[in-house]
């Protein structure tokens, strides 16, 4: 009896120690990780307007953007390709949250300076945040020659400003949706009835078709009774983002000719389709593209060369 009891204890001990070792990695307490959502959009711009994406700290982005004439112009103007307008810009990531930029556009020879700050980052894990929220602001200066230099001209009359909130959620690897309440303030407007402050609601989306190609769309709805003295249309853009190594190509169709908010929101005269004076259907669609090339100026902390 005593022997069998001892033996059974012994066998139990052996059985316990011979049990399969638990997964060694599970013995280590995992550090609580927050997984931040990345690449909600391929680029810092959806098409004409901003996306919630920021440049990483130390990254410089050189962008060349073109918008051509309307497709209506037909073969004589090579479907608008003869009438190119340009915006050249440099953007820089000061931190992972703060991006600053400057640009120069053909439209009204506009020079602009801008700033985008990421307030909230969509994340899961230890910190859970359903959306990304950014604030964007810019100053746009019309540098056309004064139409009447003899008159008293105020420099301030050529300034326009944008304040914009960008609220986005990446629903899955493919689908991102973004909402952008936007205010454009124009120091000088064409007539007394026109509002200096123009409010618009922007909507944008991205669907990835493959790992390197995505389809994007962007729409700015201008609230009524703000732009009165001139015809205006809400700007709509549909495009493709194509990435190849260090470049992102954004090819798109849009009715906006300008590439800064004052022009896109307040000075887009033609709709995608409209009825011309002769009763025929006309189109304000233009082809355009943005080309982005990034350069690393400051290497990230923690990275060491192999």
């Amino acid at each position: 009896m005593r022997l069998s009891l001892t033996l059974s204890f012994f066998l139990l001990a052996v059985a316990l120690s011979a049990q399969d070792e638990p997964d060694l990695l599970s013995l280590v307490e995992e550090k609580p990780e927050t997984e931040y959502t990345t690449a909600s959009f391929k680029s810092t711009k959806v098409v004409n307007g901003q996306s919630v994406e920021n440049l990483a700290a130390g990254v410089l982005d050189f962008r060349i953007a073109h918008r051509f004439g309307t497709l209506n112009e037909g073969l004589y103007d090579m479907f608008g390709l003869d009438a190119a307008t340009t915006r050249l810009s440099l953007d820089y990531g000061v931190t992972n949250r703060l991006q600053v930029g400057i640009g120069r556009s053909t439209y009204q020879k506009t020079v602009d300076g801008n700033l985008k700050y990421k307030i909230l980052s969509q994340s899961s894990g230890q910190k859970n945040m359903p959306v990304t929220l950014s604030y964007y602001t810019d100053m746009q200066i019309n540098t056309l020659k004064w139409s009447d230099p003899e008159r008293e001209n105020l420099a301030s009359s050529r300034y326009a400003f944008t304040h914009q909130l960008l609220l986005a959620r990446k629903f899955n690897e493919s689908l991102t949706f973004q909402f952008m309440p936007t205010l454009v303030h124009r120091n000088l407007v064409p007539s007394e009835e026109d509002k200096n402050d123009v409010f618009a609601l922007g909507f944008a989306g991205r669907v990835k078709l493959t790992k390197r190609v995505a389809i994007t769309a962007e729409y700015y709805y201008v609230l009524p009774d703000q732009i009165v003295s001139r015809p205006y249309a809400n700007s709509l853009a549909i495009g493709f983002d194509i990435e190849t190594g260090g470049h992102v190509f954004q090819l798109h169709f849009t009715n906006a000719q300008a590439m800064t908010y004052n022009g896109v929101i307040c000075d887009t005269p033609l709709d995608w389709f409209y009825e011309g004076e002769d009763g025929n259907t006309m189109t304000g669609i233009r082809f355009g593209f943005n080309l982005s090339r990034v350069f690393t100026i400051v290497k990230p902390k923690g990275y060491t060369e192999f």
Partner: protein, 183 residues
């Protein structure tokens, strides 16, 4: 009876002490893909290594998202297009020392350990044999290992436009200083 009980206690008490484990959570894992056209390298400073000297077993894990690249865009492409790190967040290696006679984890010295086990990344598990250098000094175990990983083995397709820019075989190094685990 008492003698047996003592023996049993000794066995039970001795057991855990005998299987003292060692670990680190800040192992440095680096990789290099080098072709005549492009050099791509990244650093991960938060690798986990757990060693059970008694069982001669090693398990390692890295979070793919924690690899830091010189170029942020490259890092994005690595995560989005190649490793698909949202779907497959980790890479692991789990293996056993196949030459336990030549390695002592308790005696100071430098040893070459051969490990045989399973490498797992991008949702693919593959048998893998790697060699590590083990240095034991004052109860601290340092490990260093160089090995190579072929993206094709782990179902990581390389588009034809960049085939000349990404190496067929990517060099990996792992360095860690393991301390006793308080368990």
């Amino acid at each position: 009876m008492n003698r047996y009980l003592l023996f049993l206690f000794a066995l039970l008490l001795g057991g855990p002490a005998f299987s003292q484990k060692f670990f680190t959570q800040d192992a440095k894992v680096k990789f290099l893909s080098e072709t005549p056209i492009e050099k791509i390298d990244a650093t991960n400073n938060s690798g986990t290594i757990v060693l059970d000297p008694a069982a001669g077993r090693v398990e390692c894990k890295v979070l793919i998202k924690n690899f830091l690249f010189e170029k942020a865009l490259m890092q994005e492409h690595f995560n989005e297009n190649y490793m698909e790190s949202t779907t497959y967040p980790n890479a692991t290696f789990k293996g056993n020392v196949t030459n336990p006679g030549e390695v002592s984890f308790t005696k100071d010295g430098t040893y070459t350990a051969k490990l045989s086990g399973t490498m797992s990344m991008h949702g693919v598990e593959k048998p893998a044999d790697i060699v590590g250098k083990i240095t034991v000094k004052n109860g601290v175990i340092s490990v260093h290992s160089d090995f190579a990983v072929a993206p094709a083995d782990y179902n990581i397709p390389i588009p034809s436009v960049v085939t000349d820019k990404i190496a067929k075989s990517v060099k990996v190094t792992v360095d860690g200083t393991l301390k006793p685990m308080n368990k």
